[in-house]
C-alpha cells in the first residue's frame, strides 16, 4: 500500500509551517532606531530602486553606509532591486528614499514575507523537491528525507528573523544536483551565482572546486581533453562572475575596491556576540582579543581553517565520489564555521545544508545535528521574540522526522544514552536561558553557556564526520534509506 503524493504533501506541509512562522515578529520589529535584518533588506530595496547602480555600495548623501549599507555581493543587490520594483508598484511608501526608513505595517510584513516564500519556492524548495523526486530511494523514505532537510533553523531564520538564505542555499543545492548528474558547466554557473548572492558560500567552494577538478580528470582520458574540460569550467565561471559584476567593473574609480571592501570587511572583529565556534569558546579561557593583534588573529584563523579544509578537499580529489562530496562539504563548511573569521551564529545554516543532504547515510545523526544547530541559535530567537514558533517548529520536526530514529536503530546503548543526555541537557539549558535572569557579574552567562554547549556538540560531530570521511569505507557506509 504505497501512498501516492506523499512527497508533495510533505512539501506543502513545510510551506504551511513556514506561513505560520511568518505571522510572528521579525528581527528588529518595533525597535528604532536601527531595527534589524528586516529593515536592512527593506533598506536595500529602497537604495537599489532609487539610486544609480554606481552608488549602491558607495557612501553618499543619499546612501549612508552606516545605516545598513549593502554588504553582500551584487546578486543580492539585483534581487533587492527586483523585489523593490514590485514593492514600489504595490505601495511607493515602502521604498521612498530616506522617508521610508523604519517603515512598518502589516501589509508590508505580508509583502516581505511573501517575497521570502516566493524566493524559497523558486530556488530552494524546487531544488529539494527535484533532487528527492529523482533520487533512487524507496518511496516510503523520500518524505522523511524531505522533512529532515526542511529543518527548523532554516525556517526560523528565513521566515522568522528574516533573511533570504533560501536563495543562496537553493543555488548551492542546484549546483550539487548538477554535479551529481555530471553537468559540470551548469554546476559552475549555479555555484558562482550562489557565491555572488552571499559570500559565505565560500564555505562550500573548496569541495565543489576539488570535485569539479577531479571530474575533469575522470571524464576524459587524454591530458588535453582534461585540460579542455577544466578550461571550459573556468571560462563559464569567469563569464558568470563577469556578467554579475559587469556594472561594477566598468568604472575604475575605486568602485570595485569599494564593493570588495564592503563584501569582505576585515575591519570587523573576529567574532560578534557569542557564537558556537572555536574562537569564542577559546576566548572564555584565554582573552585572545587582548593578547593578539587582529592581523595575527586573522592569520591563525586562516591557518586552522586551511589545516582542516585542504586535506578533506584533497581526499575528495583522490577518492572522487558523490558520497565523499557530501562528506567533504560537511567537513569543510564545519571547519570554516569553527575556525574562520567573523562567523555569525546564522552561518551554521551553511553546514546544515550538506548535513541534511547527506542524511540518508546517517538519518538520526543528521537529525541530532540539525536539532542542535537550531538550539545554538536560541539567543537569536529570544532577541526576536520567536521562542514560541522556534519551539513549535522543533516539536513538529521531531514528530515528523521521528521515523529517522528507527532507521539507525542498530546503534549501541552508549549512543542512545549520549543522545538522551544531549537532549535533556539542551532542554534544561534552554529552560534556564529563558527563565533565569543573568547574574549581575556575568550579564551574558546563559548565552555563553548555550554557545559553549553547542560548540561541544559541533566539535564532536566534526570529529565524527571526519572519521566517516576518512576511515569508513564506502561499503560500510550504506544508504540507510533504501
Amino acid at each position: 500500500m504505497d501512498v501516492p503524493f506523499k512527497l508533495e504533501v510533505i512539501a506543502l506541509t513545510t510551506v504551511i509551517i513556514k506561513l505560520g512562522v511568518s505571522l510572528f515578529p521579525y528581527s528588529g520589529k518595533n525597535n528604532p532606531p536601527m531595527f534589524g535584518d528586516y529593515e536592512a533588506q527593506r533598506h536595500w530595496m529602497e537604495i537599489t530602486v532609487n539610486l544609480p547602480i554606481q552608488d549602491w555600495y558607495r557612501n553618499t548623501t543619499d546612501n549612508d553606509l552606516l545605516y545598513w549599507g549593502l554588504d553582500y555581493p551584487p546578486l543580492t543587490a539585483y534581487h533587492s532591486y527586483l523585489t523593490g520594483l514590485m514593492a514600489k508598484k504595490i505601495n511607493p511608501d515602502y521604498v521612498n528614499l530616506l522617508a521610508s526608513r523604519g517603515f512598518e505595517s502589516p501589509n508590508h510584513q505580508f509583502f516581505m514575507r511573501m517575497s521570502v516564500l516566493v524566493s524559497d519556492c523558486l530556488f530552494f524548495i524546487s531544488a529539494l523537491y527535484f533532487y528527492i523526486k529523482n533520487l533512487k530511494m524507496d518511496n516510503k523514505y523520500k518524505w522523511v528525507f524531505f522533512a529532515l532537510c526542511s529543518h527548523p533553523g532554516l525556517t526560523l531564520i528565513d521566515y522568522g528573523h528574516f533573511q533570504y538564505n533560501s536563495v543562496s542555499l537553493g543555488l548551492a543545492l542546484w549546483a550539487i544536483i548538477f554535479v551529481s548528474k555530471g553537468r559540470n558547466l551548469w554546476a559552475a554557473v549555479a555555484f558562482s551565482a550562489a557565491l555572488n548572492f552571499k559570500q559565505m558560500e565560500l564555505y562550500h567552494a573548496i569541495p565543489i572546486f576539488f570535485y569539479l577538478l577531479a571530474s575533469c580528470h575522470r571524464k576524459a582520458s587524454t591530458l588535453m581533453s582534461q585540460l579542455v574540460n577544466l578550461i571550459k569550467i573556468g571560462v563559464v565561471t569567469l563569464a558568470t562572475f563577469a556578467l554579475i559584476w559587469y556594472p561594477f567593473l566598468q568604472l575604475h574609480d575605486g568602485l570595485l575596491q569599494q564593493v570588495l571592501s564592503r563584501v569582505f570587511p576585515f575591519n570587523r572583529g573576529i567574532f560578534e556576540d557569542y557564537v558556537a565556534n572555536f574562537w569564542c569558546t577559546l576566548n572564555v579561557l584565554v582573552k585572545i582579543r587582548r593578547i593578539l593583534e587582529p592581523t595575527s588573529i586573522a592569520s591563525y584563523c586562516l591557518l586552522l581553517t586551511a589545516l582542516f579544509s585542504f586535506p578533506c578537499g584533497l581526499h575528495l580529489y583522490f577518492k572522487n565520489s558523490l558520497r565523499n562530496l557530501h562528506l567533504c562539504l560537511i567537513n569543510v563548511s564545519l571547519a570554516f564555521f569553527l575556525f574562520s573569521y567573523h562567523v555569525h551564529e546564522k552561518s551554521i545554516l551553511l553546514v546544515t545544508l550538506p548535513v541534511s543532504i547527506a542524511s540518508p547515510y546517517f538519518p538520526f545523526t543528521a537529525f541530532w545535528f540539525l536539532s542542535i544547530s537550531h538550539f545554538s541559535m536560541l539567543p537569536l530567537y529570544a532577541k526576536d521574540d520567536l521562542i514560541l514558533p522556534a519551539g513549535a517548529v522543533l516539536a513538529l520536526y521531531c514528530l515528523l522526522a521521528n521515523s529517522s530514529l528507527k532507521l539507525e536503530m542498530g546503534r549501541s546503548m552508549q549512543f542512545k544514552c549520549l543522545a538522551g543526555i544531549s537532549a535533556i541537557g539542551s532542554a534544561v539549558l534552554a529552560l534556564l536561558f529563558l527563565i533565569c535572569p543573568n547574574p549581575p557579574a556575568y550579564p551574558y552567562l546563559w548565552t555563553l553557556l548555550v554557545s559553549v554547549w553547542s560548540f561541544a556538540h559541533f566539535s564532536v560531530f566534526f570529529a565524527y564526520f571526519l572519521y566517516v570521511q576518512f576511515w569508513v569505507g564506502s561499503q560500510s557506509l550504506k544508504l540507510k534509506m533504501q
Binding site: 501516492p4 506561513l19 510572528f24 514560541l388 517548529v393 513538529l396
Partner: protein, 506 residues
C-alpha cells in the same frame, strides 16, 4: 498513533496564534467577562456588548470555568466594559483555550476510532484519525476565525462513539450535554429520537415486538436530568433565555454570505428570472429586491418565485429527512446505519434550513469522515464534499496572510486525504492506485479551483475599487451549492441501496 497525530497538529495550531481573528473572538471574550463578573441572573440579560450570550447554559458554565484560568493571564479581559479588549495575553489565552479543549475532540475521535469497523483493516484507524484530527475546516474555523467547534464536535463524537459501542444511555447523555452547549445540534436530534426509540426501546425478535418501557424511562431520566442541571439555575428567566437562543426577528432566509445550500440556488434562479423578466418584458413585477450584490440584506422577498418563510423551510427539511428515518426504522441496531442517518439529517438541515451558516457544512463532513474509510463510494463522496465544503469556507478569511494560507491549508488537506484514502482503497485487481472520480466530477473540481482562485485573488485584481464586492461570494456559494446537492443525492441513493442490499440478505 492518534496522540502522535494530535500532538503534531497541536504544534501546527500554535503557529497560527497571531493570525486574523474574527468578531467571534470578541464574542467569547465578552462571554468570559459576563460570566465571570456578573451574577447569574444577569448572564442572559446583560447587553453592554452587542454580542449577547446566545448559547445554552452549559456553554455559559464552560466560559465561566475558563474565566478562572483567564484571570491568570490578564484580568482586564474579564471586565465587561472592556469592549474589544485584545492584549497579547488575552489572545494567547483564548487561542490556547481552543487548542487545549481540542483534547475533547481527540477523545471523541478515539472513542469512534476502533468501533466504526472497517472492511479495509490495516491502516484505517490511523488514516481516520488523521482525517478527523487534521480536518482543515475545523482548523480554519476554530484556530483562525475563532470558535470552539473542536470541543463541541468532540462531544458529538463521544455520543456517536457510544452508539457505535452500543452504550445507548451514555450516547443520550452526551447528546443532551451537546444540546445544552450549542443548540444548533437540534438539527440532528431527530436521528437520536428515532434510533433510540426504535433500536433501544423496541425489540423485534421473530416478529414479536417488545416495548422496553423501563429503558424509555431511563432515557427520559438521563435527558431530563441533564437539561435540569443545565437550566435549573435559569428557571426564573426561561423566557429570556429562549429569546436569546432563538432570535427569530432580524434573521432572514440566508446569512449575509449565502451558505451553499438549496436556498442559494433558489435565490439565484429567482434573480435570473427577475432579470430576464425585466429584459424580455414578461411581467411588470417591480424588482425592488436588493441587487444580488447587496449581500448584507438578509430579509428576502423573492421577485418571481414564491417567497420562503421559516415554516416552508421546516417542511422541506422534514421531507428531506425521510430517507434518514426510513433507514433507521428498517435497520435498527446498526451503528453504521445510525452514522448514515446523522449525515442524512445534517445534510437535510444544511440544505433546507432557515438562516444556515456556511460553517454548518462541518456538521455534515465530520460524520461522513467516519464512513469514508470503509466503502469506496462513501470515500468518493467524502472527498467531493470535503473539498467543496472547505473551499466554501474561503470567504471567512480575507486578510492578506490568511488569503494565502487558506489555499495551502485546503490544498494540503485535500491532497493528503486523497492520497491516504487512495492507498487505503487500493484494489489489486484493477491496479488503479487512485480514487476514481467520474469525468463530470473532475470537471466540477477543476471549476472549483477556478472559483477559489477568483475569490482569493482574481476578483480583487480585476475589480480593485470594489464595485461588486459580493460577486465572488455569490459565485462561490452557488457553485458549491451545486456540489453539495450532488453529493447529497448520491449519498441518499447509496444509503437506500445499502439498506436494500442488507434487507435482501435477510
Amino acid at each position: 498513533m492518534l496522540w502522535r497525530i494530535f500532538a503534531s497538529i497541536t504544534f501546527g495550531k500554535l503557529l497560527f496564534i497571531p493570525s486574523y481573528r474574527s468578531t467571534d473572538f470578541e464574542v467569547h471574550r465578552n462571554w468570559l467577562a459576563v460570566t465571570h463578573s456578573l451574577p447569574l441572573n444577569k448572564w442572559y440579560v446583560d447587553d453592554t456588548s452587542q454580542w449577547t450570550l446566545d448559547y445554552p447554559p452549559l456553554f455559559a458554565w464552560f466560559e465561566y470555568l475558563l474565566s478562572w484560568v483567564a484571570c491568570l493571564f490578564d484580568p482586564e479581559m474579564l471586565k465587561v466594559e472592556n469592549l474589544n479588549y485584545a492584549s497579547q495575553n488575552t489572545v494567547l489565552f483564548q487561542r490556547i483555550s481552543v487548542i487545549f479543549t481540542d483534547v475533547v475532540y481527540a477523545l471523541g475521535v478515539q472513542k469512534c476510532l476502533y468501533s466504526i469497523g472497517s472492511t479495509q483493516g490495516g491502516n484505517s484507524p490511523t488514516i481516520l484519525a488523521f482525517l478527523l484530527l487534521c480536518n482543515v475546516g475545523l482548523f480554519i474555523v476554530d484556530h483562525i476565525h475563532f470558535q470552539y467547534n473542536g470541543f463541541l464536535t468532540g462531544i458529538l463524537l463521544l455520543s456517536v462513539g457510544s452508539i457505535l459501542q452500543k452504550e445507548n444511555l451514555k450516547a443520550a447523555f452526551w447528546f443532551s450535554v451537546l444540546l445544552n452547549l450549542k443548540h444548533i445540534y437540534l438539527y440532528i436530534a431527530p436521528v437520536y429520537f428515532v434510533y433510540l426509540f426504535r433500536s433501544y426501546c423496541i425489540e423485534i425478535q421473530k416478529s414479536r415486538l417488545t416495548f422496553h418501557f423501563k429503558r424509555l424511562i431511563k432515557l427520559g431520566m438521563v435527558v431530563v436530568t441533564t437539561f435540569g442541571v443545565a437550566y435549573g439555575p435559569f428557571v426564573g428567566q426561561f423566557q429570556q433565555v429562549m429569546s436569546r437562543l432563538f432570535p427569530f426577528e432580524n434573521r432572514g432566509l440566508c446569512h449575509a454570505y449565502w451558505a451553499p445550500n438549496f436556498w442559494a440556488i433558489y435565490n439565484i434562479v429567482d434573480k435570473i428570472l427577475a432579470v430576464s423578466a425585466r429584459l424580455f418584458g414578461w411581467t411588470t413585477v417591480s424588482t425592488t429586491t436588493a441587487s444580488m450584490t447587496g449581500g448584507l440584506v438578509q430579509e428576502f422577498e423573492h421577485a418571481i418565485l414564491p417567497s420562503v418563510g421559516p415554516k416552508t423551510t421546516l417542511i422541506c427539511t422534514l421531507l428531506a429527512l425521510i430517507p434518514a428515518i426510513v433507514i433507521l426504522l428498517r435497520q435498527p441496531n446498526q451503528p453504521r446505519v445510525f452514522v448514515r442517518a446523522i449525515v442524512l439529517c445534517a445534510f437535510a438541515s444544511f440544505l433546507f434550513g432557515w438562516h444556515v451558516h456556511e460553517k454548518a457544512i462541518l456538521i455534515v463532513i465530520t460524520p461522513l469522515t467516519l464512513l469514508a474509510v470503509s466503502s469506496h463510494e462513501d470515500c468518493r463522496l467524502f472527498l467531493l464534499l470535503s473539498i467543496t465544503g472547505h473551499v466554501s469556507l474561503f470567504p471567512l478569511l480575507f486578510t492578506p496572510f490568511e488569503n494565502v494560507s487558506k489555499i495551502f491549508l485546503v490544498l494540503t488537506y485535500s491532497l493528503a486525504s486523497y492520497s491516504f484514502l487512495s492507498a487505503l482503497h487500493y484494489d489489486p485487481k484493477s491496479k488503479s492506485t487512485l480514487v476514481k472520480f467520474r469525468s463530470w466530477e473532475r470537471l466540477f473540481l477543476y471549476g472549483l479551483v477556478a472559483v477559489a482562485l477568483f475569490e482569493s485573488f482574481i476578483h480583487s485584481m480585476v475589480d480593485p475599487s470594489g464595485k461588486l464586492p459580493f460577486l465572488p461570494l455569490l459565485i462561490m456559494s452557488v457553485y458549491c451549492a451545486v456540489g453539495v446537492i450532488y453529493v447529497w443525492l448520491l449519498f441518499v441513493i447509496a444509503s437506500l441501496k445499502t439498506e436494500k442490499k442488507i434487507s435482501k440478505q435477510k
